[in-house]
Each structure stands twice: as C-alpha cells, then as structure tokens.
C-alpha cells in the first residue's frame, strides 16, 4: 500500500539557488534568480552542454551561499531531460562528490528530494539535489528541430531553461523535509505529446487523494504541484471536486502549480511551463522564501512528470504520469 513515509528525523534544507535563461529572466520571478544568462548558452558550446552547466552553477551557488566547500559535499542527486540523463553527468563531473542520476521527467526534483533526504537519513553528510532542463534541447529531442517553422498547439507547454538546487543536511535549519511519498505510475490515457498537462493530471490526483487519506488538508498552507499547466490544473480540479467531497474546496484553495506560476502573465506561453528545471526553480524562488519568512508553515511539493520518449510516442504508446510528494515545513 502506498502511504506517506515519515522520516524518523527530519532532513533540513540548508541552502538553495536557481539559475535561468533569457525567458526566465523576463518572468515575475526574475529578481530571485541567482544567475540569468541571456544567451541561454551559459558559456558552453551547445545547448546540450548548457543544460548540465546550469545544474553545476546552481549547486555551486547554493554551496557558496552556505559557505560549504566542494570537498564537504557527500553526494549529488541530479537529473535532466536529455537522453540517458547525460546533461547532469557532463555538468556535475567536476565536483568529485558521489553522484546519483535520476530520470523522472519533470518530476525529477521531488524525486531527487526523496532520494537525497532518505539516503541522508541513513548516515551523515551533505547532499545536493539539483535538476535542470533546457528549452532548446527538449524541443530538439521531443518535438522538432529548433528552427522548424510550425505553430505550437494551444495545449503545449514551454520547457523552462532553468535549474534549481538545494543543499540538504541533518543539522537543524529553518526549513525541513518531514515526510515523503514516491509517485505511482499512472496511465495518462493520451498519446499527445503536446498535451503533457492532461497526461499528468490523473497521477497528480492519485497522489493528492492517497496522501489526504492520511492527513487533513486543514493543516496545510500550500499544495504546490509540478508542471500541470492550465489544462492539467483544470483537469485536476474537476477530478478533486467530483471525488473528494467536503475536502475538495480546501485542497483546491491551497493549490498552486509551478507550470502556471513561472511564466504567469506572459503571452504566447500557451498552457504554461514545464521541464524539471521549472518546479525546481519555482520551489526555490517562490515557496522556499515564503516558508523562511513564515508566510506559510507547511506545504506539499508534488512535481509531476510525463514518462515517455519520442520513440514510445511514435510507436503509439500512452504517456504515463508520475507524481511523487514531499512534505516540507518550517522547523521553528
């Protein structure tokens, strides 16, 4: 039975950082980014290399912020959107710390927090969790060549060029991870790779429903899902209101979605943002500061992922959704 796993001892978020590309530098969150590169290349020869470089930069800045040297870092948990997760391995090889590469599509950041905090709870040390995604590499890999002239479908989401990183520790800090729940693979009943929100909404609903069989939404201040975007969000609301009775209204009122938040108010973004750099950077730039300031005390982070490859979709396979969850709260 899938149920929340409560950590015996909480794991704390010691520091964080986010970097982004040109479009991210035009968002309402732009002032929060630690670094914006308007070329989207981050001084690298290709967008593929830039994707990993963003993760390196984010981890580096997060380490600097808490005054920790590279040598003190025990291991890094990281992921990206490229085939075989190669951006992270290329970007992070210089650290000399342990490394675990993950693939959970856009859900990777929450997955990383689950792996990082549970491993850390077995021993001691410092762990970095970082994910990055790059619009240009994702377009090439999953959709069409960059210079291809086509019209984007109104249901499509824009892969964020961004990376977010957090440093985890067992030493007490302001914000802590107290519970986690791995996602379940849920059939999204769609083959449409331009409608990721629809492919993921059912899995987000599954995680919400499962989690609130164990806890009450009244204790929470924020439920932050990953990249459902406009369509995924409206599907999730419909599923919740039809099936969750009296708790539905409360849950919906607490809900926000990273895919809607990142490019909020920007034109031409269709159904919103996506990419595993999206929920990582929105968590770091929006949720974490509000936790630290005490504006919110308890939240759920549920990054959603669409599990597929360009080949699987061409072969007519369904896209699967996955939504892991971590419970994050103020420790003071």
């Amino acid at each position: 039975m899938r149920e929340p796993i409560y950590l015996r001892e909480p794991i704390y978020i010691k520091s964080s950082a986010a970097v982004g590309g040109k479009r991210e530098g035009m968002t309402s969150l732009k002032t929060g980014f630690d670094l914006i590169d308007k070329t989207d290349l981050f001084s690298m020869p290709s967008f593929e290399r830039a994707e990993g470089e963003m993760a390196r930069l984010a981890v580096n800045i997060a380490l600097k912020k808490c005054g920790v040297s590279h040598e003190e870092l025990s291991f890094i948990v990281s992921g990206d959107l490229q085939n075989q997760c190669v951006a992270s391995s290329a970007g992070l090889f210089s650290f000399g710390a342990g490394y675990i590469g993950l693939y959970g599509a856009c859900s990777t950041f929450t997955e990383g927090l689950i792996v990082g905090s549970s491993l850390l709870s077995l021993g001691r040390g410092l762990c970095a969790v970082a994910t990055s995604s790059h619009n240009c590499t994702a377009e090439r890999q999953f959709r069409a060549p960059l210079e291809y002239g086509g019209q984007r479908s109104p249901s499509s989401q824009w892969t964020a060029t961004a990376s977010g990183a957090v440093i985890l520790t067992r030493d007490k800090c302001d914000v802590m991870i107290s519970a986690l729940m791995p996602g379940k693979i849920v059939d999204g009943y769609t083959k449409d790779k331009t409608n990721m929100g629809a492919a993921m909404a059912l899995s987000a609903y599954d995680t919400v429903r499962t989690f609130f069989e164990w806890e009450s939404p009244d204790e929470y201040d924020l439920i932050l899902t990953g990249d459902l975007g406009k369509i995924g969000t409206s599907l999730l609301y419909e599923l919740i209101s039809e099936n969750m009775g009296s708790r539905a209204e409360k849950i919906i009122s607490l809900h926000r979605d990273c895919g809607n938040l990142l490019y909020e108010g920007m034109s031409d973004m269709h159904a919103g943002a996506s990419g595993c750099g999206c929920s990582a950077s929105v968590f770091v730039l929006d949720a974490l500061p509000r936790l630290k300031s005490g504006e919110i005390r308890k939240m759920l982070l549920m990054s959603t992922g669409a599990l597929m490859s360009a080949g699987s979709v061409n072969q007519g396979e369904h896209i699967f959704g996955i939504t892991p969850l971590v419970k994050i709260e103020l420790s003071r």
């Binding site: 060549p145 960059l146 210079e147 291809y148 086509g150 019209q151 109104p154 059939d187 409206s234």
Partner: protein, 149 residues
C-alpha cells in the same frame, strides 16, 4: 478510479482548440501571397527569354533558397508562427524542414549527423514521391501497352 473512456472525454473537454478563425485566413493570405509573388517572378523570368517550365523551376529554387536562408538566420520559424500552413505547405516549408534538421544535427558530425539529419523530413517526402511516381509509372506503362494511354 477513472477509466480510459471517461478520462479521454475529460481531456477533450478541457483542451482548447486552435482558433481556426485566425489561422485559416492567415494561411490563405500568406500562402496565396507567396504564390502570387512567385507568379510575378515567373513572368519576369520568362520575359528574359527563359522557357515556361524552367521559369517556374527558377521560382521554386529561389523560394527554397530564401526559405533555407531565413531558417539558417533564425527568422523562418518566427514568420511561420503567424503564417502557419501558408509557409509550411509550399516548398518553403520543405526547405525549412530540411535546413532546420541539418542545423540541429551538424554538431553530431558531417556524415551520420548532418548527412542523415537532412533526410529526417526530406527522406519521407522523397520516398513517397518516388513510390507514388513508380506506381504511376507502372500503371502508365500497362495502359500504354494496352493502347489506352
């Protein structure tokens, strides 16, 4: 839990449709304008003493050249975003597909990267042109033997 049918219906209800009122007129106008300009140019080329068939081929090559160049300069996709099928259906769209995949695969090498990459969209188009052309050839040959064509 939700079953396949009800969820597919939900998706349909929540997914916005492309606004045909906007895309159709622009596709008609831009596609039509491109063809009219081509016609204008064909006329001019013929005045220079070029025969009819070659004049039209000159126009085709010119459109391919311009579309390919605009693609390489990073401008074609911005135009096609508005024009839609008006630019992607004429031979300009074919040139754009070929050039855009060439640009993206260049870094993977000149042979298996670029060499194979140019054919990701050109390949299917050429293959089906050749297949249907061959089929037409067989039918035409048989009809000719029978004295029909």
């Amino acid at each position: 839990m939700e079953n396949s049918k009800t969820y597919k219906e939900r998706i349909k209800r929540h997914t916005p449709k492309t606004n045909l009122k906007k895309t159709l007129p622009t596709a008609f106008l831009t596609g039509g304008a491109l063809c009219a300009l081509g016609e204008l140019m064909a006329g001019a080329v013929r005045k220079m003493g070029v025969e009819r068939a070659d004049a039209y081929l000159t126009v085709t090559v010119t459109v391919i050249f311009i579309a390919s160049l605009l693609t390489a300069l990073g401008m074609f996709d911005k135009l096609a975003k508005y024009a839609g099928a008006g630019l992607s259906v004429p031979v300009s769209g074919f040139a754009n597909s070929v050039t855009s995949s060439a640009l993206d695969t260049r870094r993977e090498g000149l042979v298996l990267g670029l060499g194979a990459g140019v054919f990701t969209v050109a390949g299917p188009v050429i293959l089906y042109a050749v297949l249907s052309g061959t089929l037409f050839g067989i039918i035409y040959y048989i009809l000719k033997m029978l004295g029909v064509a």
